[in-house]
């Protein structure tokens, strides 16, 4: 059984060794293309030395010796004007993998990989120059590793060419986790997550404090309306005091939330670089295997991510990068023939916007071949031929995420087994995120992973559309302005806005999210200029309610597939607001996909959310395009802009009931002959007669609103109106 102290130290060393391993691997790959000298070689030497020394400190003699053998292979080449030989670097990289696997197995008390084959492999690539000094020095000090200076001296002694005098001194070898007991504690992930949730609760408490303060403001305003009276003076004074105190408490709570968040961030996150570093190696290996050439560029590697998320992301990232090389990039000669640089450009861009994380993996290869996708889908019987023929580009792109999908006829080491992108998608979904793919044939493919981050809040612009409040990430909002008819170009099928000497499309948010027919912006209506994915457009909204700092949470599974939303956030009063995805708003593909085939339109007016849902269910089954309104005022507004084939209206509504609405509708020339079906929770002959008297065409009780009955009644009232006409 392992000593508990050693076990703790070992756990710390595994993490440290992983970082060193990645640095060493990176240096090796750089030195394959550049002379074996300079900072990369120093990094390599320092890394191997640290691995050796630290392993020896922990009594892992076998690993210390193995690291030493790697040094023996590499260090004699220091200062060479040639790159490291490919055979040598292959052997060292493979040995490094085995070294790490061995260390992990020791820590996990698992099956130890055999080091002997790797030792033998290293012997085959070892330069002729012997290194007795180093070997001897390592035996000193009761089995502990040599000091940094000893190693440096040995290195200089072994170097085939004179070492430059200003060779950087290797960093002192840290004694791994020597102070672990004194300076650090081991804390379980669960404990940290529990703290994260508490911070979240505290943030909500802070929001509630703000709301309480606004309530007091309202109470004070009411008192002001009563005038200054002696009877209310004391109450006023108390309220003012409480208001001030709440303000101070709110500010203090905000400070605490920010400070706790910062602290937790330090504890629970790691730079994304730790997941991306190994990808350089993956790219190198697959390029060697496939004969392709690629350069991997990374932007945003310094972004810190939740350690759990990072761990879960490793697999998907490796897969996407391997896929990009194997499927995306062309062979160098093909690229040259197409006028591209022989080295393919792979790019990973990591960006955190508030508490949303975006990771893009892109390549400048051949792009997704729609014909190949169709053929593969047919070959693997994933989709029936007739369905395939009707699929849009976006739908075809989605096929690559189906289990069993592969365009390769034969499986290779890297692809063709039909296991891959579906796993990537599942893993990202398990993190409550989603994956999208965009591709330009012959030019590029881009995978975008969107994930929620536990910490942080995002600036969101909250807008109103009808009775709905919706949020837009501020990052996509370039500016806002009022609609002026002189700037609008209204065509038969589209509206454009002259904005900064350019014509940009105008989209009505209400129509975009299926709440109403598209409306041309009225004079003075707010327009938001949005930018996303290189497109600019104007979005017309009913009202801009203001910007807020909100924590965007993923939507529940039942509606997570809705492309329109990034997530939802809690407003100060506890209600949720849906956050729109800018790429959905600016997407032109979506509009092509959602080309409405329904010709019949129905307006459902009911103050019950659930009744609206039920009517919608029934009517959509019957092929109607359904818009809803939660009150009579809103219904009249809808009718002012759009024509409907039928209105299904509840009788019992606040402010203006169904009778009054029917009467109002009949008074308008545009709607005086629109079929109206009244529905009521009460089954009363009086109600029925009164409804018919004010101009309704039919009456149905809610208990009779089973799907078939509602549809047949709707059909009847439409037929009656037509007959009457």
């Amino acid at each position: 059984m392992m000593d508990p102290l050693l076990e703790n130290l070992l756990a710390g060393f595994v993490d440290e060794a992983q970082e060193i391993y990645e640095r060493v691997a990176r240096s090796m790959m750089e030195l394959e293309k550049a002379p074996a000298q300079g900072p990369s070689f120093d990094e390599l030497a320092r890394g191997l030395h640290t691995l050796k020394g630290s392993a020896a400190t922990l009594g892992l003699e076998e690993l210390a010796d193995f690291a030493h053998r790697m040094e023996d292979v590499v260090l004699p080449l220091r200062g060479s004007s040639k790159p490291l030989p490919a055979r040598l670097s292959d052997a060292v990289l493979k040995s490094l993998d085995v070294w790490m696997a061995h260390l992990r197995a020791i820590a996990a008390k698992g099956q130890l990989p055999d080091l002997a084959p790797s030792v033998a492999l290293l012997e085959t690539v070892k330069p002729d120059a012997p290194a007795p000094a180093a070997a001897k020095s390592r035996k000193k000090k009761n089995g502990k590793g040599p000091s940094a200076s000893e190693t440096l001296a040995a290195t200089v002694a072994r170097a085939p060419e004179p070492e430059p005098p200003a060779a950087p001194t290797p960093a002192p070898v840290p004694a791994p986790a020597e102070d672990a007991q004194a300076d650090s504690w081991r804390v379980t992930t669960r404990q940290v997550i529990a703290l994260l949730h508490e911070v979240e609760r505290l943030r909500e408490v802070r929001l509630r404090l703000e709301e309480r303060r606004r309530e007091i403001d309202r109470a004070l305003q009411q008192l002001d309306r009563l005038g200054i009276q002696a009877e209310t003076a004391e109450a006023r004074s108390v309220l003012l005091g409480v208001r001030r105190a709440l303000g101070a408490d709110g500010e203090e709570a905000a400070d605490i939330v920010a400070s706790m968040e910062d602290g937790l961030k330090t504890i629970s996150t790691m730079p994304v670089r730790t997941a991306i570093e190994p990808l350089h190696r993956a790219v190198r290996d697959i390029c060697k295997a496939t004969g392709k050439q690629a350069k991997l560029a990374v932007v945003g590697a310094e972004v810190s991510l939740d350690r759990r998320v990072l761990e879960q992301l490793r697999g998907p990232l490796v897969h996407l990068v391997r896929n990009a090389v194997d499927h995306g990039l062309e062979l160098p000669q093909v690229r040259e023939a197409r006028g591209k640089h022989p080295d393919g450009a792979l790019a990973i861009r990591v960006e955190q916007q508030g508490n949303m994380l975006f990771i893009e993996v892109s390549d400048d290869g051949a792009g997704l071949d729609l014909e190949q996708i169709r053929e593969a889908a047919l070959r693997r019987a994933l989709v029936p031929a007739e369905e395939l023929a009707n699929m849009s580009t976006q739908q075809l792109h989605q096929l690559i995420f189906r289990p069993g999908f592969s365009t390769k006829a034969e499986a290779t080491e890297y692809s063709g087994r039909g296991v891959g992108l579906d796993v990537v998608r599942n893993q990202i979904q398990a993190l409550q995120g989603h994956v999208e793919v965009q591709s330009v044939p012959g030019q590029s493919t881009r995978f975008v992973l969107t994930l929620p981050a536990d910490l942080g809040s995002s600036p969101v612009l909250v807008v109103r559309c009808g009775e709905h409040q919706l949020g837009l990430p501020m990052v996509a909002v370039e500016s806002s302005r009022r609609a002026r008819s002189k700037d609008l170009r209204v065509g038969r099928s589209r509206v454009q806005l002259e904005h900064r000497e350019q014509l940009i499309p105008v989209q009505d948010l209400g129509a975009l999210v299926g709440l109403r027919q598209p409306e041309v912006p009225a004079e003075g209506q707010p327009l938001l200029i949005l930018q996303s994915q290189g497109r600019t457009m104007a979005l017309s909204v009913d009202e801009v309610l203001g910007d807020r700092e909100l924590v965007i949470r993923p939507l529940p599974v039942e509606i997570r597939e809705l492309a329109a939303y990034q997530g939802a956030a809690t407003l100060a009063r506890g209600e949720l607001v849906l956050i729109l995805r800018p790429d959905f708003i600016v997407s032109t593909e979506r509009r092509a996909d959602t080309g409405l085939i329904s010709t019949r339109r129905a307006l459902v007016v009911d103050d019950s959310l659930t009744a609206r849902a039920l009517h919608r269910t029934a009517l959509e089954t019957g092929g109607y395009l359904v818009h809803t309104a939660s009150n009579a005022r809103q219904a009249l507004e809808q009718l002012r802009h759009s024509a409907y084939d039928v209105m299904v209206c509840d009788i019992g509504m606040d402010e203006m009931d169904g009778y009054e609405l029917t009467a109002a509708v009949r008074q308008r020339v545009e709607t005086d002959s629109m079929p109206i079906l009244l529905v009521s929770a009460r089954d009363s002959e009086n109600d029925r007669q009164r409804g018919l008297a004010v101009g309704a065409d039919g009456f149905l009780t809610k208990k009779d609103c089973v799907s078939g009955r509602l549809l047949s009644e709707v059909g009847s009232v439409i037929a009656r109106r037509k007959g009457a006409a």
């Binding site: 949470r553 019950s608 039920l614 269910t617 359904v626 929770a681 208990k703 609103c705």
Partner: protein, 178 residues
């Protein structure tokens, strides 16, 4: 204000009698054998019919308010709401059951755990009442049914449709995929 202690004889006789009966009932040892033979369910109306769901799946009954509608969502989705820090989807039960009529506009949401590790909320016309269904009849009805409900006929020809939430959700997902 001086608070007077409540005198035992301070209530009207009929109220006293009621309190005594209530206390006796509470003190009674539960009839364990009877309990063991019953599946405790939450019973509620959907239109003209009576539905029930196992009480152990019910997490809460909350007023149907503070629900945010989700435009573009499938029609059986009423919206989303916050429940104990989680975002939960509110679904129309009548719609999930294939379009049923209703007597009163639902005013209650039942937060349930269908058994797949997350909560959902189902709308309901009234706050459900707890009742017991004989295990034997439940088992028999379940064996007969392959759908999301199984019909149980109780004494007096009263019929209760016991919901199988997992099947109900699976069916909906299946329909969506198609």
């Amino acid at each position: 204000v001086k608070v007077q202690p409540r005198e035992p004889g301070g209530f009207a006789p009929e109220l006293n009698e009621l309190l005594v009966r209530r206390a006796q009932r509470i003190r009674q040892k539960p009839a364990e054998d009877e309990d063991e033979n019953l599946l405790w369910v939450a019973e509620f109306p959907v239109g003209e019919e009576t539905y029930a769901l196992p009480l152990d799946t019910l997490r809460a009954a909350v007023p149907l308010k503070m629900v945010t509608p989700v435009p573009l969502s499938p029609p059986h989705v009423i919206g989303i709401l916050r429940f104990q820090g989680q975002i939960v989807t509110a679904l129309s039960l009548a719609s999930l059951l294939g379009g049923r009529g209703w007597r009163e506009d639902p005013a209650v949401l039942l937060v349930v755990d269908p058994g797949f590790g997350r909560l959902v909320a189902l709308d309901c016309e009234r706050i459900p009442k707890p009742s017991g269904l004989p295990h034997a009849q439940v088992a028999e009805a379940r064996a007969r049914s392959s759908g999301p409900t199984c019909e149980i006929t109780l004494a007096g020809t009263r019929q209760v449709s016991l919901l199988d939430l997992l099947r109900l959700m699976d069916r909906r997902q299946g329909q969506e995929k198609r």
